[in-house]
């Protein structure tokens, strides 16, 4: 109960200058996180350098909740690579393995077919209506490394947004009531 009393006292005694300093510090923390994220995008050449595995279609290799590090280079796409791609009209990226490649002689354009390791059939059912192959511009990156379990935080916050609000509320309260 003494903690509640202290909290109410500290909210009552807030001064403008202190409040502004704290707001600026918070802003600095948020922008440095953004700088790190953008720098990662530059270094890996991919629009989303880190993705969370959302489905079980690549088990037992990648389970739901793992995170994958992506890298996109100009190297040609070859069978066996694990690629992350976006289908036109859907905004969730899919992480599957390339099983067929047909590369054109003169233009270097490529037709790619993918399949999840744990799925029975290939991904043609997931592609857009009438689409038989993926092309280079659909592919956002190749998976080059991974960390297990770390992505569960993102999944929980996306699927139960109430937890996100509770966390942000608690963080805000901590920032306001802390003395530095």
């Amino acid at each position: 109960m003494g903690w509640m009393g202290e909290t109410i006292d500290s909210i009552k005694s807030i001064q403008i200058r202190q409040l502004l300093t704290q707001a600026i510090s918070l802003g600095m923390i948020v922008t440095s996180a953004l700088i790190i994220w953008k720098a990662l995008m530059c270094v890996t050449g991919s629009e989303s350098p880190v993705v969370v595995v959302l489905s079980g279609s690549m088990e037992p290799g990648f389970k739901r909740g793992d995170i994958l590090f992506l890298h996109m280079s100009k190297d040609p796409i070859r069978a066996g690579e694990i690629v992350v791609f976006n289908v036109d009209g859907r905004d969730i990226p899919i992480v599957h393995r390339v099983i067929k490649v047909h590369e054109r002689e003169n233009t270097g354009e490529v037709d790619v077919l993918t399949k999840g390791d744990n799925n029975y059939g290939d991904d043609r059912l997931l592609y857009a209506e009438g689409q038989q192959w993926l092309h280079r511009h659909h592919i956002m990156g190749r998976a080059v490394g991974f960390l297990p379990y770390v992505g569960w935080v993102t999944i929980i916050m996306t699927e139960k947004p109430i937890i996100k609000y509770i966390l942000i509320g608690a963080l805000g309260l901590l920032v306001i009531t802390s003395k530095d």
């Binding site: 037992p60 069978a79 066996g80 690579e81 393995r97 099983i99 067929k100 490649v101 054109r104």
Partner: protein, 167 residues
């Protein structure tokens, strides 16, 4: 300075840093393993070589695949994904790779195997270029670690060819 909040924060930061360091070292240790996998593939039979109703060539074959991938497994290996792809060139396409069969190898015991199977995925060309076509059969493998960098390599076996006429 000694409140519960500060102590919990310091503990969390330290443990996450230490865990990240251990994961990086585990991945780095994979560089020191000696790897010498081997494989052999024979085509037992070409079952059908036909032209599909809407244009493309398709072939169905039976393969005898034997491989020893035991040396790829280290303490940091979660699984090895191996697949056999037919690779060939046509006048329109400088490279075609078609995966015919794949397997997930969960541990070292299963990594030495011999299997006779027809192709798991359909071998379809973009066009009618498969009669008399010469192709390579390549065994690819991808090592997925428990944590860290993934590794891939292959063995190329050239010299296979398809019959000159539809059958």
């Amino acid at each position: 300075m000694h409140s519960f909040g500060y102590r919990a924060n310091a503990l969390l930061t330290f443990s996450v840093t230490a865990l990240a360091f251990i994961c990086a070292i585990a991945s780095f240790s994979d560089k020191f393993s000696n790897q010498n996998p081997s494989a052999e593939i024979q085509i037992l039979n070409i079952n059908r070589l036909k032209k599909q109703s809407y244009g493309n060539d398709e072939v169905s074959l039976t393969l005898d695949i034997s491989a020893d991938l035991q040396s790829l497994f280290t303490w940091n290996t979660k699984q090895v994904f191996a697949f056999v792809a037919a690779e060939y060139e046509t006048s329109k396409n400088s490279l075609n790779q078609v995966s015919l069969w794949d397997v997930i190898i969960p541990d070292k015991e299963h990594a030495k195997f011999r299997i006779q199977t027809s192709n798991k995925y359909r071998f379809i060309d973009q066009g009618h270029n498969l009669r008399g076509r010469e192709f390579n059969l390549t065994l690819h493998w991808h090592v997925m670690p428990k944590t860290g960098k993934m590794l891939a390599d292959k063995i190329i076996m050239p010299g296979y060819s398809l019959p000159d006429a539809y059958k």
